[in-house]
């Protein structure tokens, strides 16, 4: 819970990771990719305030106690959604798996929600695994990582017919929240690998599913925004936007927020810290006190009021995941949103 001016704000961190990227978990012969991957993330962390930077060895493997403290004791988070990313080509036991994340839910059932994953290249076997995971962990969401390397293939797209079979099964299993991540990505090599048009197709074909585009399609915010205005079931996941830009590039952060509030709107934006790349504490504090620079360049963007902050910080995710919101932290607690004035 975050408290400001005597008012409580319910916080759902929509994008967190419990990973092991330590050298002991690197696949023999693939060390350069396992190392390159986690060092790439570690460089991202340095876009946050200096006092929040970690040494690389801690960043590779931080453990349960650290995570629980950073999120729930110091970081104001009420509920955290654990996203699963396998990368088994590079990490022996996976980067962070459904079962590893699920064990956190078993130990902290009131705090964590685990999301599953699928890879349509796994065929029928993968469908069976998805079904097993859905029942075991009561999945309400999956995180899709279209850039994952697998047996010589460097990725996949939601337009693939196989992906449709999986999305159909998600709908049957009650997995309604589809988080889609695209970067850092390299595939397809000869096209724009960050292209979000496959999400557009899937969102049209599956109106009963919600598609949360993580990192708002960075570095293709404009393509994402134009697509999201066309699709009522497409949402903006703010992970990386807050962590990567608010401290390091405040003017660009303000422009991105302005563009998102204009095209997508405060009802469809979800906070995510992308822990452990960045800790939630400073992100939430800075987001709660954030406003546009006092400059004519920002004059035309929609404002973000108290209601908008409540929605982005927790209420929108609570709606998608069916999370009960404590009394006194809903919209009735706040003033009408300033958006649209």
């Amino acid at each position: 819970m975050y408290t400001k001016d005597g008012k409580d704000y319910f916080v759902v961190d929509g994008h967190t990771h419990f990973w092991d990227a330590s050298p002991a978990n690197w696949v023999a012969g693939q060390e350069q990719y396992a190392k390159g991957w986690i060092e790439c993330f570690h460089a991202y962390q340095h876009l946050g305030p200096p006092e929040t930077h970690w040494p690389l060895d801690k960043f590779q493997r931080y453990g349960e106690e650290t995570m629980v403290r950073d999120l729930f004791e110091e970081g104001y988070v009420d509920k955290a959604i654990l996203q699963s990313t396998y990368l088994r080509e590079w990490y022996r036991n996976g980067f962070n798996t459904v079962d590893g994340n699920g064990s956190m839910v078993e130990r902290y059932p009131d705090r964590f929600i685990v999301n599953g994953r699928f890879d349509p290249r796994d065929g029928d076997e993968g469908l069976a695994t998805l079904e097993r995971d859905a029942k075991r962990w009561n999945l309400k969401g999956v995180k899709l990582y279209t850039a994952e390397w697998r047996r010589g293939s460097r990725g996949w797209t939601l337009k693939d017919p196989e992906a449709h079979r999986y999305l159909e099964r998600c709908e049957q299993l009650g997995i309604v929240n589809i988080h889609v991540h695209k970067g850092p990505t390299i595939w397809p090599l000869d096209k724009d690998a960050f292209d979000v048009s496959d999400v557009d197709h899937a969102a049209t074909d599956f109106p009963g599913l919600n598609f949360i585009v993580e990192h708002v399609g960075l570095p293709r915010i404009e393509d994402f925004c134009f697509m999201a205005t066309q699709e009522p079931n497409v949402y903006a996941g703010l992970s990386v936007v807050v962590g990567g830009l608010l401290h390091a590039r405040p003017r660009f952060f303000a422009k991105v927020m302005g563009e998102l509030l204009f095209w997508v709107g405060e009802d469809k934006m979800l906070f995510g810290s992308d822990y452990a790349i960045w800790e939630p504490k400073w992100q939430i504090e800075r987001l709660m006190s954030w406003d546009y620079p006092d400059d004519g360049e920002f004059a035309d963007y929609p404002r973000l009021g108290e209601a908008g902050r409540r929605k982005i910080l927790g209420l929108n995710a609570a709606r998608l995941y069916g999370i009960e919101v404590p009394s006194g932290t809903g919209l009735e607690a706040g003033q009408p949103s300033l958006v649209g004035e």
Binding site: L189, P219, E222, C225, R249, K255, V256, E259
Partner: protein, 239 residues
Amino acid sequence: MSADPTADPVERRAWEALGQVMDPELDEAITDLGFVHRWQWESGAVSVHLRLPTFFCAPNFAWLMVTDARDALMSVEGVDSVEVSLDDYFASDEINTGVAASVGFDSCFAGEVDGDLDELRATFRAKAYVAALERTCRDLRRRGVSLPALGEVRLGDLPAGPDTDRLTRRRGDLGLPAGPDDLLLVDASGAAIAVPELLGWLRRAQTVRVNMEGNGELCRGLLHTRYRLADLAGAGVSG
């Protein structure tokens, strides 16, 4: 490594040629972005090392920058040999070998690629033009030019400066008319933008520009954190 502007005039021209090579995704010069980190010149033989903000930057754009740099340097009179290589990158070996052997992107990543990169380049040239046109229109409106009056503006009416130079170059890249008598309000396909549609067009173009400028900032930030550079922006030609 820096190019000394008082040195060999051929070296200076070579450095200036390299300064015309853009990151196609960001529409900024690779020399301004800090991507050139080693420059060695010895009487007509130039060796350039590039580096990128992350280990996993997109290989298609990386390929375009490396080959564009090679082509730009080769085109300078007095330059006899050119070596361009990309460091600290997941596909450094593939790209450096491919470029040295002058093969195409499709041969370099055989089996993973359907075609060449023309479509990708065209997409980002169009975005770069849209962003440049919006920037120019924004500037003109700030100077008090009304929306209907924008419809009358010709390229020759624009104030001299880097934004106008860039806009004109982007028009040329797309094969659009770029003479002083040509109208300003033309979209990336060459069609006129009618004044009643202009406000909506500009609002979308603003998002394209914000994204492109912002990616440039993000890439600078990542390059900075990756290599702990004190001040890329102020470093000029020194990398």
